[in-house]
């Protein structure tokens, strides 16, 4: 039995032995991504391209934030547009209230929009997080629609379907996109760094434990309610900031654009495509999907066919890449390396240990020895 477990391990799981050797590559990779993201709008300065790049980063940041809660805890929320919309309306209302003129100043309101979204996440979470799995998904969708309806009907605050205007920045058309691009890039970097810290902290481990077996985690002293709610709020905070920057960019918001059902599905789809619960997954998903959806919306959006195509992509991802790209590629690479590593020990006698007692303290498993 022990040997069976072993072979599974060496094949199935990347094994952390490889992790050390990959570290320098990882750092170089992330640095290269960062530099590419910084110089991108300077190289491709056409407003048409930087606009798509901006939207891509909005979704990359929101997807990363979504993943901090949903990816790690396994609670698939389809209601994060609530936080996005709360961020949109917060910045619009505050700018109007404080008579903030267009320019850099509205960006200072962005963190407040994040805080507002995190506050909204409290009642949302307290209600929704009592349920699990499919029920949770349904409840988040339901709550999303409640918020959209509120945005339509609380006319005193949101002006209903006539929407709200944001201040117009004085920048010329040619460099107009750049401030937005770099602000959302900063938010994205903060979200990725936060995601990394969560993933490697005890707190993140508790989220992952909740994903695997919530009741068992509770029985090991994990305060599941608190852990889930705080992660939900953290996630909402970043999504709210994304909404605020997006709202300032598009200059006018309406209940159906701020609280957009498509947003709910898209960020989940991006995380699924890239790899749920991985740090790079939502980034990769956004990088692939957002330009595609932009293109689809522009080319066939009028007939609504873009939604059909997006639905097809969603199904294809679920069917063909249930794990997402990042875990699939990682497994492929590690499997190849594991095979190469295993070569020298391959001629070892074909393990008679299949009948060995399950808990041989240290089986003479050369693969295991090599790995450790």
């Amino acid at each position: 039995m022990a040997t069976v477990a072993h072979t599974q391990t060496s094949a199935g799981q990347p094994g952390r032995s490889g992790a050390g050797r990959w570290k320098p590559f990882q750092i170089v990779f992330w640095l290269a991504c960062l530099i590419a993201a910084i110089v991108f709008p300077l190289v491709f300065s056409s407003p048409a391209i930087t606009t798509i790049a901006f939207f891509t980063l909005v979704f990359a940041a929101a997807g990363t934030a979504w993943n901090i809660f949903c990816g790690y805890s396994g609670y698939i929320a389809l209601g994060h547009a609530v936080f996005f919309g709360s961020g949109c309306y917060t910045i619009a209302i505050l700018c109007a209230h404080w008579h903030i003129a267009g320019g850099w100043l509205p960006f200072a309101v962005v963190p407040l929009a994040g805080v507002a979204a995190a506050i909204v996440a409290v009642p949302f979470g307290v209600v929704a997080l009592r349920t699990r799995r499919h029920t949770f998904v349904v409840i988040t969708i339901a709550i999303f629609f409640i918020f959209q309806l509120l945005a339509y009907n609380l006319r005193g605050i949101t002006a209903g379907s006539s929407g709200l205007e944001l201040p117009i920045p004085p920048w010329s058309g040619y460099v107009f996109n750049l401030p937005f691009y770099y602000v959302i890039l900063v938010i994205l970097i903060l979200a990725v760094v936060t995601s990394w810290f969560v993933r490697h902290s005890k707190y993140g481990l508790e989220l992952l434990a909740i994903r695997d077996d919530e009741d068992r985690a509770r029985g090991l002293g994990v305060r599941t309610g608190l852990v889930k709610l705080s992660a939900f709020m953290l996630s909402a905070f970043f999504v709210g900031m994304c909404g605020a920057v997006w709202a300032y960019f598009v200059e006018s918001i309406y209940p159906n654009t701020a609280f957009d059902a498509q947003f709910d599905v898209l960020i989940a789809l991006m995380a699924f495509l890239g790899g749920l619960g991985t740090i790079a997954g939502p980034l990769l998903g956004a990088l692939i999907l957002q330009p595609v959806t932009q293109y689809l919306t522009i080319s066939i959006g009028q007939s609504g066919l873009n939604l059909v195509v997006e639905g097809v992509i969603f199904l294809a991802v679920i069917l063909l890449l249930p794990q997402g790209i990042v875990p699939a590629v990682r497994e492929l690479i590690f499997r190849r390396f594991a095979r190469r590593d295993a070569m020298p020990v391959a001629p070892a006698p074909p393990a008679p240990a299949a009948v060995a007692p399950a808990t041989e303290p240290n089986p003479p498993d050369s693969v295991a020895a090599e790995r450790s």
Binding site: A5, Q13, L208, D215, R216, G219, T359, D365
Partner: protein
Amino acid sequence: MSLLQATDISKAFGGIQALNACSIAVEQGSITGLIGPNGSGKTTLFNVITGYERPDTGTVQFKGADISKYGPDRIFGLGIGRTFQLTRIFPRLTVTENMHVAIKRKGLASLLGRWSASSEHDRALQLLQFVGLTHLKDAPAGSLSYGQRKLLELAFILVAEPQMVLLDEPAGGINPTLIGQLVERIRELNRQGMTFLIVEHNMEFVMGLCNRVMVMHRGAKLAEGTPEDVRANPAVLEAYLGD
């Protein structure tokens, strides 16, 4: 004063009375066996003690304090650890990560720090050594065999240094060599002062290990005593063979 005292616990699921005014007491430093036919309420009693189920009536006291209304996280924090009949580990975490879930962290800084850099990491590795799983420390727990999972579940409970451990069928589905090792481990921990309450169907295991045995039948305690007393008790035989 007993370490753990459950008094008049009743618990019904729909029309089924799983526990019927059940009272037990577990002494500090003992290895107490809890036996009984299937459906006699042993696991339900475990669930009530560890906070997974609220009793309909009755109280559970641990070190003299009423814990009947506490949740599982709080009860674990007070020093009662348990394993499940159908072993429950975290399959997608590695064996080492599984160990770290149960490590208690005080304060926000330690909660947000890297788990692998914590001072408890060495203790987690020692316990893996103790149950003989060191060579699998980086494997995903889901790849472990059934017996290894049981050992892992025991190990990650021990990492929090509980005063009392409730084991639900620790020997079920495990090969005899491993059972021998398990008995040794339990005895060693007991010598260090840990109290055990063990549900088990393997009579050899119970009679050989426990210094006190309780028999449950139809949701209540039927008999109690030393293994010899219980074995000689005609009511016990009837409970197992009767109906």
